[in-house]
Amino acid sequence: MLELRDPETQAIDAPTPPTSWKAKDLLDTDTLSRDEIELIMHTAEAMAEVRRRPIGKVATLRGATVVTLFYEQSTRTRASFEVAAKAMGADVVNLTASGSSVEKGETVIDTVRTLEAIGADVVVMRHGSSGAPYLAARHTKASVINGGDGMHAHPTQALLDLFTMRRHMGDSIEGKKVAIIGDVLHSRVARSNIWTLLAMGASVTLCGPATLLPTTLGGRHESGEVTVTTRIDEALDGASVVMALRIQKERQDSGLIPSLRDYIRGYQLNARRLGLANAGALVMHPGPMNEGIEIAPDVAHGVASVIEEQVTNGVAVRMAILYLLAAGRHA
């Protein structure tokens, strides 16, 4: 069985991270220092405590407006941000590309300027193009949170993944091996996770068919900080965390994998393979899952799985990020 640290016993003794939040935006995890990540984690612990109360809601961001601007579909990220913003007392406006002026051809820049003029304090943005939230952030005084951009970054997912690991493994994941398995090449979740995990001193192994692995990772691969392998046995050996990534069915049509059956044979996270990882290793998945493809159903819902917990923790982590970005700037 998984050990969950008692959240009640850890609070006051925990050292205060020696930093305060300065940045306007959260666009990726690659620019976050270890102290800043610690600050987010500590703040998220306090938010998790708020969520455990009979009424898991506070009024800290009362009067602030959070807009979710999603150019791509989403279930958990958008809903999670909406719940988090409301739990902090903020007003929430949800916009999707369809049904908004985006359909009439309004640009990203004009859209965020319009949202700022309406009074948005925070814009949570998901876009199919890598870098779009960076463009938006440069053209508005509102805080921009990247809710996923193209194949580039998904910082809040990486931070909730780290938070989930720490709930089970203790505050230090230094030296622990995290295996990320699947379509790493197209995964913004994997990229943002790599930066947080390296910042916290974990060792990262990426695994998948050669066609779905990145050839360069800003020098981190070449420097040996990240291990890349096509052999799943090697990736799982000694791993404390195993993260499976979604295989998009389009990858088969584009010829990057011979067939889904072939992928399953080589890379599906199943019970036998999980046995190669450390005893008590955590099974994670950013969702949505293709059960039976990248992950076997009995593993996805087995005792080692913390996949539902990731979703629950996502609310606390997003509350923490909204607090850090908006509480100091807003009345």
């Binding site: 959240p7 006051i12 205060t16 306090a46 807003h330």
Partner: protein
């Protein structure tokens, strides 16, 4: 900057024992009592008062800790959001007598925030306030029920309470204008 020690370890210990006696007397015993300390330094003080009450009454008093960061009214003025820590309130506070414990009572704004925070955990029968130091200059209609030491200060002065649990030593210090004259008044 001149700095004067107002209370030492022995005086703090005696003051904590007196506060414990006063709380017991006012509550007619230690039943239905919950001590809730404000983070950071109100919490160890609450633990010390609870230990003294247990020693006198042979009844264990639950102790909680409260972080008021999410309830403060000065976050925009600070410019950066205050560091948060998880609160922990042991069991239900419904119908109980909750004694809020803090180190220094000044403007009263922390206690206003603490009251808002506390109400999110339940509906206490009564809420009382115990402070180690009351330095005056209230900006809100809040008054303490149990006071360790009344300390007349100038608004611009600073009162620092240091505790073994948080600072490695016990002591109350005054810094700022004309410390010697005001401190000995």
């Amino acid at each position: 900057m001149p700095r004067e020690q107002l209370l030492g370890p022995d005086e703090i210990a005696r003051t904590v024992r007196r506060l414990a006696h006063e709380i017991i007397e006012s509550n007619r015993g230690a039943e239905h009592l919950v001590l809730v300390g404000l983070l950071s330094r109100g919490y160890p003080l609450a633990q010390r008062i609870a230990a003294a009450i247990e020693q006198f009454e042979h009844t264990a008093v639950p102790v909680g800790r409260l972080d008021i960061g999410l309830y403060r009214d000065d976050v925009a003025r600070l410019g950066t959001p205050p560091m948060l820590r998880p609160s922990e309130i042991p069991g239900s506070i419904d119908g109980k007598t909750v004694v809020l414990v803090d180190d220094v009572l000044f403007t009263g704004r922390s206690i206003r925030a603490a009251l808002d925070a506390l109400i999110d955990f339940g509906r206490p029968g009564r809420v009382r306030l115990a402070v180690l130091i009351d330095r005056g200059h209230r900006e809100l209609p809040i008054r303490p029920d149990f006071v360790g030491k009344n300390l007349p200060t100038a608004f611009v002065q600073t009162v620092d309470v240091m505790l073994l649990e948080t600072d490695g030593q016990d002591g109350v210090f005054l810094t700022g204008l004309e410390v010697a004259r005001v401190g000995t008044a």
